[in-house]
Amino acid sequence: MNAPFQPESISLDQLKVGTRASIASVDWASLEESEAARLRHFGFDEGVSVEPLHLGPFGRDPLAIRVGRMTVAIRRSHARAVRVNLSA
């Protein structure tokens, strides 16, 4: 929204394992309705802290991501819809 300083945001699938970041924005329109609903259910929202914990063994897909106090698995293609700030 009106963050004083917006460091360069990257997409969640580019974030290195073990790096914390906060969600800058989610491109809800690029997701199917039920997928967007599920991401919201998992707590994906602006300002929430995320951290990739594990990558799938084949093609580094899917991703296990800590969101708040939960860990969720999503595919790389869905992680692309999430932009994160490396600050914090």
């Binding site: 199917e32 039920s34 998992f42 914990l53 799938g56 899917p62 106090r69 860990t71 969720v72 698995a73």
Partner: protein, 615 residues
């Protein structure tokens, strides 16, 4: 008579809702289905301190009232009083995971807005403390404005308090439901985070144990190796542990048949009871030990939290076939038997993913095909070595398994592009914390699975085996005529023969195909029966079946027969369970149609190729 007050237990997935439900109701539960959907309805009775009974219903886990799966749609409809066959609950117990408040409170807030009398069970409070999280339940109660009870469902802690809170709540005069516009989900989520923050007294880094275990079990190299080992043990167990109980069931059935033979005079009734009922049902019940062992493993993997990790590891490979990681375990289970495999697809959220998985599950080579493969391979494939330690017979067997898997993957790809096109096929799952499975919950789950198999599939299977028996027994043969040739089944075989003649099948095979619908391995005994009746002298009748086959079938026919069994849906139980799990005749009929078509084409292609090669 007023119906019992209905109390619904609701909560997000992984909140420990079912454990709490089991702790409240005990083993006396009723498992049914909501009409029109394949979502299970679990209900039980609870008696309050003053002796008043109430009905408790365990709603499917949901993240919110905006459904993203059929289960969640049922939860929403029940809570809003819109679910067919269910009255609106009189009160709610909301289960939240104490260590995941900022997420679980969102659904709780949404439910509290409904205005029903409500209690929150702050569950798994012990695990939260173990993780270094201190919560202020009183503060939470003040923020939410409703009673909050700390519980540890698996240790039955807080259950008595929960019951007395229920008692108080149901004794209080009912409030009028307030009609309020529901809040936006995102607003509720933000409020949930604020409340969670205010209720937390102190916290340390989250979920240490789960992180340590995931570091190993989801490791890119070690993880898949451990998964392979777990699966290997599971399959060893399915076959090794089931041998003895299968022996018991077989001798039990034999005793029963013997007893019936002695009691009932020779005639149609004896034949119906011995060959139709005992023989037919016995052929299916024999699979119960394998199904139970398989489900024991599946329940343990699910309850411990490892199942989701297995899906995580396999998702990328399953994605290649248009499926999700969730399809992995059901498909793998289908190697033992497609019936539990198809039942296990209930863990797949996405309806189209689930349907695709159900439709291709019968292509996994189940254990009932083994007797058929073993017989034909022993008879026609020379027992010679094609390389160090590699026998030709084993190679053909392996090839049949690979053909099944390849067929399943190709069929899934084709279905995903046509009939079950669209609808995501995404993979979004919560990775819950690891937990020690509790014996009572596993036993309850196992008992419910066994009952589903025996009751639901059993009734359809009993009906069809009696039908098959009637087809094979009427009209009775005249002296000197073989019963199977004279029967309606024999006449049908004449029709089948016309159809299967082009793909190299002879009359014996045509006769075996119909009884093999009861169960694939029956094909072996059916062929054996035909040959023992037709054998001209005693000596020939004594020769092993494999030897007798050699003179009668060409190699091309034998190969075509093997390939037929890779694809053909020769199993009433599978069709019955598909009917149950898809809640319509449309999909089982489609499955039967496309699999027979595949079987016909593949067997034909094999036969014509073999003939062209001069085999």
């Amino acid at each position: 008579m007023n119906p019992l007050p209905l109390v619904a237990v609701a909560g997000s997935p992984n909140a420990g809702k079912s454990a709490l439900f089991n702790a409240l109701t005990g083993a006396r539960q009723k498992v049914g289905n909501y009409p029109g959907v394949t979502v299970e309805r679990h209900s039980g009775r609870l008696t309050l301190a003053d002796g008043r009974p109430l009905e408790l219903v365990d709603l499917p886990g949901a993240y919110s009232l905006d459904p993203a799966s059929p289960d969640e749609a049922v939860t929403r409809d029940v809570l809003l009083g819109k679910q067919k066959g269910e009255r609106q609950p009189d009160a709610l117990v909301i289960v939240v995971d104490a260590s995941n408040l900022d997420n679980h409170l969102r659904f709780a807030l949404q439910l509290i807005e409904l205005g029903l009398p409500t209690i929150v069970a702050l569950n798994m409070i012990d695990l939260a403390r173990r993780d270094g999280l201190e919560l202020d339940a009183k503060r939470l109660e003040a923020e939410l404005g409703i009673p909050v009870i700390e519980t540890v469902a698996v240790r039955k802690r807080g259950i008595a308090e929960l019951r007395s809170a229920l008692d108080d709540m149901l004794s209080a005069p009912a409030r009028a439901l307030t009609e309020r516009a529901p809040s936006e989900l995102i607003q509720l989520q933000r409020r949930a985070r604020d409340i969670a923050k205010s209720a937390v007294v102190s916290e340390s880094p989250v979920r240490r144990w789960t992180h340590l275990l995931d570091g190993v079990l989801l490791h890119p190299v070690v993880g898949p190796v451990i998964l392979a080992a777990v699966l290997f043990i599971m399959f060893q167990a399915v076959f090794a542990w089931s041998e003895v109980p299968i022996g018991w069931i077989e001798s039990g059935m034999a005793l029963l048949a013997e007893g019936a033979t002695n009691v009932i005079p020779d005639g149609l009734l004896r034949s119906l009871v011995v060959d139709g009922v005992i023989g037919g049902v016995g052929a299916v019940v024999v699979f119960l030990p394998q199904i139970l062992i398989l489900f024991l493993f599946i329940l343990l993997l699910e309850a411990s939290g490892y199942m989701v990790r297995a899906a995580f590891l396999m998702d990328k490979l399953m994605h290649g076939a248009g499926l999700s990681g969730r399809a992995f375990i059901p498909l793998l289970s289908s190697f033992a038997c497609a019936v539990p495999g198809i039942m296990a697809t209930r863990t797949i959220d996405n309806p189209k993913d689930r349907l695709t998985t159900i439709l291709v599950a019968p292509l996994m080579t189940c254990s009932a095909r083994l007797p058929v493969y073993t017989l034909i391979i022993a008879a026609f494939i020379p027992d010679r070595s094609v390389g160090p330690g590699i026998g030709l017979q084993g190679l053909v067997m392996f090839g049949l398994y690979v053909t099944g898997v390849a067929g399943a993957l190709l069929a899934a790809l084709a279905l995903r592009r046509t009939i079950t096109r669209g609808g995501g096929g995404g993979f979004m799952m919560e990775l819950p914390k690891y937990q020690m499975p509790r014996a009572k919950d596993v036993v309850i789950g196992l008992y419910q699975r066994a009952m589903i198999f025996l009751k639901r599939a059993g009734t359809i299977i009993l009906g069809t085996t009696i039908l098959l028996w009637a087809l094979a027994s009427f009209p009775p043969a005249k002296p000197g005529e073989s019963q199977i040739e004279a029967s309606i089944a024999g006449k049908i075989a004449n029709g089948i023969e016309v159809v299967v003649r082009p793909i190299g099948f002879n009359r014996d095979i045509s006769l075996a195909l119909l009884p093999a619908m009861a169960a694939r391995e029956v094909a072996v005994s059916a062929i054996a029966t035909v040959y023992s009746i037709d054998a001209s002298d005693e000596e020939a009748a004594q020769a092993p079946l494999a030897e007798r086959l050699q003179g009668r079938w060409s190699l091309a026919t034998a190969l075509a027969f093997l390939v037929w069994f890779v694809f053909a849906p020769q199993c009433i139980s599978t069709i019955a369970v598909t009917r149950r799990e898809t809640n319509s005749w449309r999909w089982p009929l489609f499955m039967v149609g496309y699999l027979f078509a595949l079987a016909y084409i593949a067997a034909g292609a094999t036969y014509w190729t073999a003939v062209a090669l001069g085999l």
